[in-house]
């Protein structure tokens, strides 16, 4: 069974969002998503200053087999993008919840968590799929 850390929120399309002490939100994809994708070969991420929107595509991730969309769990502005992933996507596979983070986002509003799944909700989605 895939790990679902309790310290963050989830989107049904398998992205996570974690709030930092400074109010900045870090996002990435879940262990389940990473294992479904298999071996990764390429990722495209937005740069600093670009806007992302709730449930809208913010980038693309490509495995040996296929391309998949990355959807944003919240609306806001990118303040940092994990540039090391452009060279090697291994951290996404090996450490999807830590080293494999993708973007740090300044949320457009404080209510972003209300639209997301709790860890328990997401875990039950995984169990029922």
């Amino acid at each position: 069974m895939s790990e679902v850390p309790a310290d963050r929120f989830y989107l049904s399309s398998h992205e996570w969002a974690q709030e930092g002490d400074d109010g900045v939100v870090t996002i990435g994809i879940t262990e389940f998503a990473a294992s479904e994708l298999g071996e990764l070969v390429y990722i495209e991420l937005p740069g600093e200053g670009e806007d992302v929107h709730f449930e809208q595509q913010f980038g693309e991730i490509e495995s040996v087999k296929a391309v998949s969309a990355l959807n944003s769990p919240l609306s806001g502005q990118v303040i940092e993008s994990n540039a090391s992933l452009l060279d090697s996507q291994e951290p996404i596979t090996d450490s999807p919840f830590e080293e494999g983070w993708m973007l740090k986002i300044k949320p457009a509003d404080d209510s972003w968590k209300d639209q997301l799944m709790t860890p328990a909700d997401y875990e039950s989605q995984l169990n029922n799929s």
């Binding site: 298999g38 071996e39 070969v41 390429y42 495209e44 040996v64 087999k65 296929a66």
Partner: protein, 368 residues
């Protein structure tokens, strides 16, 4: 979704299952790239039960087949296997298949996704012959890779004491398969879709799971392999895949499959005059191979550009585990010279395509 008789074996071996050709099939067991290298360097086991296995029955199956297949079937010898196309009147490809001339009967192996389409087509077009569909009752598994012949030979008995080593490439014969503790009567052919030496084994479906497991257990060097690596292996080997390089809108001449067409064979076949015409005026587009600059693979449907204009389309693309670069093939307008500068439209980027001769990979010793 349909399942093959090996579905529970795939689950036991830890496969990730996906839909392919209407069947739930393993895309990989451990990892695609690892399985790819297993087949190039050792040997891999594949479930091919999703493919259609048709017997052609009738008074004169040779003439009946010659009228619906592009290949000159009448010249096939007993024990020979041939690649052929099934075409429409306009030359568009309905399927690409293998034709097996066994000592006393004729078989066709067709693509999974085209099984349901071909049955009524053959029913209508075969004159004086009909198809008996053995796809469910007869299983098909492959052992592919340089170690295949050595590992399999001790377990295969052939008529008149012939060894497995003497079965030529694209040859088929009866075999007693001694893999499961009980001798099984079946067939074996030296065929495959990987660009490596290897075999396809046909036994009754009730024994499929035991044979599959026994093949995996032949040696620590053998692993079950999914359709994911089957796709990268065949792409490197320059072999077309129906639904990608081939379709009803594409003819075999444009696809570079002239070798599979008896253009001037004496028995007229469906599509012959259309194909002769395409041959004589030259196809409007041609299949070409490329390496893609940068890390990102080009995928099916990506536009191929020359001086900013669309001049073609990618049909298949993937990272090549053997070459270590992204490779692609696709159709390009015939008027575009070989050395013209081409790019591929990947959204934000338009990396260069460098021409690469097909196939991308050829094994060192082509076994005969």
């Amino acid at each position: 979704m349909k399942k093959t008789v090996l579905n529970s074996a795939h689950q036991r071996h830890g496969a990730r299952l996906v839909e392919f050709g209407g069947f739930e099939m393993p895309v990989w067991y451990s990892a695609l790239t690892e399985e790819h290298h297993t087949v190039r360097k050792q040997a891999g086991v594949f479930d091919l039960c999703h493919m259609g296995r048709f017997e052609v029955v009738g008074d004169d199956p040779v003439t009946a087949l010659d009228k619906v297949l592009t290949r000159d079937v009448s010249s096939m010898k007993k024990g020979q296997v041939c690649y052929s196309l099934v075409c429409q009147e306009d030359g568009g490809i309905l399927d690409d298949i293998l034709v097996y001339r066994l000592p006393d009967r004729w078989w066709l192996v067709v693509n999974a996704g085209n099984r349901d389409k071909l049955l009524p087509w053959f029913e209508e077009k075969l004159e004086g012959a009909h198809i008996v569909d053995h796809s469910e009752s007869l299983a098909m598994v492959a052992l592919q890779g340089p170690l295949a012949v050595g590992l399999l030979a001790p377990h295969i008995e052939r008529p008149k004491g012939r060894s497995l080593e003497t079965l030529g490439y694209y040859r088929v014969g009866a075999a007693t398969v001694n893999l499961t503790g009980t001798p099984l009567q079946g067939w074996i052919s030296r065929t495959g879709y990987t660009g490596e030496d290897g075999f396809e084994i046909y036994v009754d479906s009730e024994h499929a799971e035991a044979v599959f497991d026994a093949l995996v257990d032949l040696s620590d060097d053998v692993h079950p392999c999914g359709l994911g690596c089957r796709d990268t292996l065949r792409l490197e080997a320059g072999m077309p895949l129906y639904g990608h390089e081939l379709s009803e809108q594409i003819d075999p001449i444009s696809a570079g499959l002239e070798f599979g067409v008896g253009l001037h064979k004496t028995t007229p076949f469906i599509g012959q005059s259309a194909l002769q015409e395409i041959e004589s005026r030259g196809p409007q587009r041609r299949m070409r191979g490329f390496t893609v600059d940068g890390r990102r693979p080009a995928r099916q449907g990506a536009a191929i550009l020359h001086e900013g204009k669309v001049v073609g389309e990618v049909t298949s693309g993937s990272p090549s585990p053997t070459l270590g670069v992204a490779i692609a093939c696709g159709y390009v307008d015939s008027g575009i010279p070989e050395d013209a500068s081409l790019q591929v439209d990947l959204g934000r980027q338009t990396p260069d395509l460098k021409p690469h001769p097909l196939p991308f990979y050829r094994r060192e010793t082509e076994k005969v």
